[in-house]
């Protein structure tokens, strides 16, 4: 277990050539002891570069990497004792047992201990029955489990996972995801998980760093990212579907959408209300917090219901209020054409128009 700190990291590819590209810009982040952190962002946001810098595969252009307070930039991945798992499993031509034992053999661990450790980890991951088989004939998900064992058996300081589930089909992906989650909560190994899939990040991580264009936009617990996204990008990127946005104007404690209004008394502090009074704002709400009722209720707005789609655990409903379109995620799919719509007030987010930044501070304490 190790505390990892990155300080003032900048990375530029092809430095000094015409193809110079800035991948990471002045980035600071801390990965506390025993934490499970996801680096989340679209392709090209710099998440893989960041991970390579932590592991020691890439040397950053500028900045410092500390493991437990010690600067490790000159150290190789092996010296940092970093374990990695990638999209494609690489296995050696030996049986499953020896594949898992390999890193221990490299550092000359006595046979007895190797046997004990390999058996233990294989049991935990659930592949004990396969230890003496040829791994090449196994399916993709099982191969990835073997890699998981091999990475964990050496008790690494940090375990880095680079989209390890991307090439799996949905059901195996789901199962392996649960397995990784279970292993991390048992072993308390530091895990850093890179993904473009927000469902994976939300499902696994204690904290998520949302990245965009080489910077960390927001680094927080999943529930904070969902409820109080720092800007509209984070609001849309997390959640499926993401947050929905409508243009509006703040008038006192009322939000004016043109066709209808919504009272937000108590949501904003006095000074914020004053600062943004009569200003154009962006109203953000997650589909989960758009409340749909068959009957008229106080504070609800009359609306027209569009398409209803069953998404397994809920229904997605298109809602039209005048010419404005929203999505609601509801448990009951049986809705008439005419419905009444309300918003769960404390979940409403308001963003300023220019940069799309949140104007409500997160009031929840750690």
């Amino acid at each position: 277990m190790t505390n990892i700190i990155l300080e003032d990291i900048t990375h530029i590819y092809n430095l000094g050539t015409p193809r110079e590209t800035l991948a990471i810009r002045d980035l600071d982040i801390e990965f506390p002891d025993g934490s499970f952190v996801a680096l989340l962002g679209p392709s090209g946001c710099g998440k893989t570069t960041l991970l390579r810098i932590i592991s020691g595969l890439t040397r950053q252009t500028r900045g410092y990497v500390y493991f437990d307070g010690k600067e490790v930039t000159p150290l190789t991945p092996r010296e940092r004792n970093v374990a990695m798992i990638f999209q494609f499993p690489v296995l050696y031509k030996m049986n499953v047992f020896e594949n898992i034992a390999f890193p221990l053999r490299c550092i000359k661990v006595p046979d007895e201990e190797v046997k004990k450790k390999v058996t233990e980890i294989a049991e935990l991951v659930g592949i004990s029955h396969l230890l003496y088989t040829d791994p090449r004939r196994l399916d993709f998900a099982t191969k990835q489990k073997i890699i998981l064992c091999r990475a964990l058996v050496r008790e690494p300081t940090v375990f880095i996972l680079d989209e390890p589930l991307t090439n799996l089909e949905p059901m195996s992906r789901f199962e392996l995801r649960l397995k990784i989650k279970e292993l991390q909560s048992r072993m308390k190994t530091n895990m850093i998980y890179v993904t473009h899939d927000q469902t994976e990040a939300l499902a696994l991580a204690h904290k998520i760093a949302v990245m965009k264009e080489g910077e960390i936009v927001q680094y927080d617990k999943p529930e904070v990212l969902l409820d109080r996204p720092k800007n509209t990008f984070v609001g849309f990127f997390l959640g499926s579907p993401g947050m929905h946005f409508l243009n509006c104007k703040l008038k006192g404690t009322t939000i004016d959408f043109g066709d209808f209004t919504c009272n937000i008394k108590g949501l904003l502090s006095e000074d914020v209300l004053e600062k943004f009074d009569n200003k154009e704002l962006i109203f953000g709400i997650r589909p989960e917090y758009v409340l749909v009722s068959k009957k008229e209720r106080p504070g609800y707005i009359k609306a027209r219901r569009g398409n209803i789609t069953n998404i397994g655990i809920a229904f997605l409903v298109d809602i039209y209020i005048g010419d404005k379109r929203l999505k609601a995620k509801v448990k009951e799919g049986d809705l008439p054409e005419e419905v009444y719509v309300g918003f769960q007030k404390e979940k409403i987010c308001l963003f300023e128009k220019e940069k799309g930044e949140l104007i409500i501070k997160n009031t929840e304490k750690e």
């Binding site: 089909e169 789901f174 927000q198 849309f236 397994g312 655990i313």
Partner: protein, 372 residues
Amino acid sequence: MLEVKDVSKVVDNKAILKGINMKVYEDAITVILGPTGSGKTTLLRIIAGVEEPTSGRIFLDGKDITDLAPKDRNVAIVFQEYCLYPHLTAYENIASPLRAAKIGEKEIDERVKRVAATLGITDILGKLPRETSGGQRQRIAIARALVKDAKVCMLDEPLTNLDYKIRETMREEIREIFKRTKGKIIIYSTPDPLDALLLADYTCVMRNGVIEQMGKNKEVYNKPKNLFVAKYYSYPPMNVIIGQIEKLNGKAMLKTPWFKMSIEGWSGPLNKDVAVGFRCEQLEIVPAGSKVDMKLPSDKLKVATVHRIGTEHLIQLWTADKNILYALTPGDVRLEVNETVDVLFHIDKLWLFDKETEEFLGRIYEGSAIHD
């Protein structure tokens, strides 16, 4: 209508497709859902004419097209890897099937521009594929398929190689695009149940070269024909416990380790071991000591993992006999791994399958049996 009749495919003595029969209709999206290796791609390639069936015939609007070359079939296909010409601009990629068909320059220009506008890629027509993003490349590939104005348009796992968020947006776009096209037969293959839920008018579930079930999307989802379809076309996975159907005082009785209930109108087999399926939202975690009916004994259920799905938590629970069950809770409920929990079981909807053959026996809806 496209009709596939008794199509089989054998490669190196291995049966990839085993007697496929299906009818695919116009003005609807048909999703072929199944795990890797179930034969989805092979089936699409045979319909497109890129591969030959070992036996069986393909009919389009009553005409046998089995022996026609791909270009004469009135069929377009979008591959998982897009397969764009890297040295041609988006415009030329889209125009390529029209050039092959020797269509006049003026018409080509019109058609390319029209389809590009539909897909919102007008401003990238001059770019090479490598200068565009994954989502844009996918749209160029779809445009190339649509520009032919073929009767049948097939998409083979079109979203697999895209980032999650783009996948979500594209999925919605694909639905919008095909809603606007008229008179087309759309076939979409995927391993992802969510694609089927969001896109399909008709769903066809495949496994090991066989169609397990095909029908209207809602029907396949709500009335799975066997345990495989029930489990595969379900997200998160369907919960399954083992029970028995017995006859007691002239009435059918369902017994499981957790509850007994009498079933009205049961006409299925009696004295049988059954797999009882139910969805995760039917297990509700309640505060310890709650006074409710149908509470599962808490000493037997332990939290294995807590897994966030959007604003909710999916909880994986260990039963005493080391089975896994799934339950859904609101995101603000805090649960620790290894904690024992009280669970309220909503038994209003149950699916019953033969334990041996895994065939569907009946649904129980609020205590009454439905056998269709």
